[in-house]
Amino acid sequence: MTGIIKSEPFVINIGPQHPSTHGVFRIKATVDGEKVIDAEMVMGYLHRSMEKLAEERTYTQNIPFTDRTDYLSSMSNNLGYCLAVEKLAGIEVPPRGNAIRVIMAELQRLASHCMAVGAFANDTGAWQTPVMWAFREREKILDIFEVTSGARLTCNYMRIGGVAFDLRPEFEPMVRRILRDFPPFIDEMEGLLSENEIFIARTRGVGVLTPEMAINSSLSGPMLRGSGIAWDIRKADPYCGYEQYDFDIPIGYNGDSYDRFIVRLEEMRQSLKIIQQALDGLPGGPFRTEVPLALRPPKGEAYARIESPRGELGYYLVSDEGPSPYRFHIRPPSFINLSALKEMTVGGTVADAIVVLGSIDIVVGEIDR
């Protein structure tokens, strides 16, 4: 008998409680043998309706909520929200406040990419060693956050008009130590993984996204850059004075999971460059503009976005001159980066689906909000 032998399609659930889904997230995969022929996402297990809760609280009270959306990059979330409120109310941030924000956002990118790279290696089968190495480095960054803001994970450090506290004297030596210790770690990680035969076999050509598909699916961040599109909001639409810093946008060529991994590693090097420049030229002066606690921005709407570790993080706010936002919408990068998950997984094996999900670098708190 000639022809392809087909087996009965079979539905398996990946998740919701599974280490490779990085949270409570479920993929309902229909498989034919080992091959995925359909994939459906089931999400919402962590839905807290933050957008509704935010309509009941003042603009300042909403800052801690944003910590809890993308809990691996709370500083970036604070920053995106504060920028949106500042745009709505027309508030200027002093130069020192902006420089501190840039340092914090880039440190957060390092911490978040450590997690992304380590967990991705975990998904491909490099069990525990790379993720523990990444955690070791991430700890040092969280220590800096603890010294500065008092919290390690949900920092709640940015304020409307600047940052909450000025930097402590320990801050600069600690960041200098990161600048010294981090490049060897990135080289080590790259040496361990990027030429590893098993790692390449698991990631090369897996979850390929063409540039056209990446744009049409509204992707952003490392997903878009992995497909070869040099789009970075820090360059294209600079905020917080990113235009003064010299850095490059790493891009991939093949749009596969391997390229997204390499883009993240290279972005960490670029972040270190930015931190170095921002720390060397840290201006003095006030770190915050005084803003009334019960802020009532004029009637209108504002959409502000930043380049968070996962992509374009946008906040769309509508004000009706009340003390709380009339509408508070988050454009969550990891939610929208999942738009193309089906296209990336169908045709591959179940094991490839895990790798693809790891390369998207989802945070379920942000998907479900």
Binding site: H47, N216, K299, E301, V318, S339
Partner: protein
């Protein structure tokens, strides 16, 4: 810096490609007619001058008497971003055409707007409640969700033991 197209600029782009597609403009936004929406956005995506290829953000807003669906669309080559809006009148069954055939990335965001605001996107390939479960009572992001009379209407009574607040109706925004 990304140039934010003003309402009239975005309207001029849309009107040049699809005449009669613009409903009205404000300083920042361009309101499109719902029946011409898909056609207009497809033309704007394919036109090299407008080059609005990347649908960044899609969300719905409840203004009590009508719903607005907000589209932030940007161009990488021209480095500009435009804000388009579509209005859906009526609270019982607000309908807006789906832009998923034009922008594949819209499908999840439209599912979310349907899930939380109850805006039905006609022509969507698979519109389902993406975050909440099927059969969830009501639409949580609507302004009247917490102040439904007695907390009993669209099925809020299913949440037994949860005392609903009796709130005065929220001020209507023009």
């Amino acid at each position: 810096m990304t140039r934010e197209l003003t309402g009239p600029e975005a309207a001029a782009l849309a009107e040049a490609l699809v005449p009669g597609s613009v409903d009205r403009t404000t300083a920042t936004a361009c309101y499109l007619k719902p029946d011409r929406l898909v056609e207009t956005l497809r033309a704007l995506r394919d036109d090299p001058e407008a080059n609005l290829v990347h649908l960044t953000n899609l969300c719905g807003v409840d203004y009590w008497d009508h719903f607005e669906v907000v589209y932030h669309i940007q161009s990488f080559e021209k480095n500009h971003i435009a804000l388009f809006k579509v209005e859906a009148w009526g609270r019982d069954n607000p309908e807006v055409p789906s832009v998923t055939p034009v922008f594949h990335g819209a499908w999840m965001q439209e599912c979310e707007a349907y899930d939380l605001l109850g805006i039905r996107f006609t022509g969507h390939p698979n519109l389902y409640r993406i975050l909440l479960w099927e059969g969830y009572p009501g639409w949580p992001l609507r302004k009247d969700f917490l102040s439904m009379p007695g907390g009993l209407q669209p099925g809020l009574g299913e949440f037994a033991g949860v005392a609903r607040r009796q709130e005065p109706p929220v001020k209507v925004i023009e």
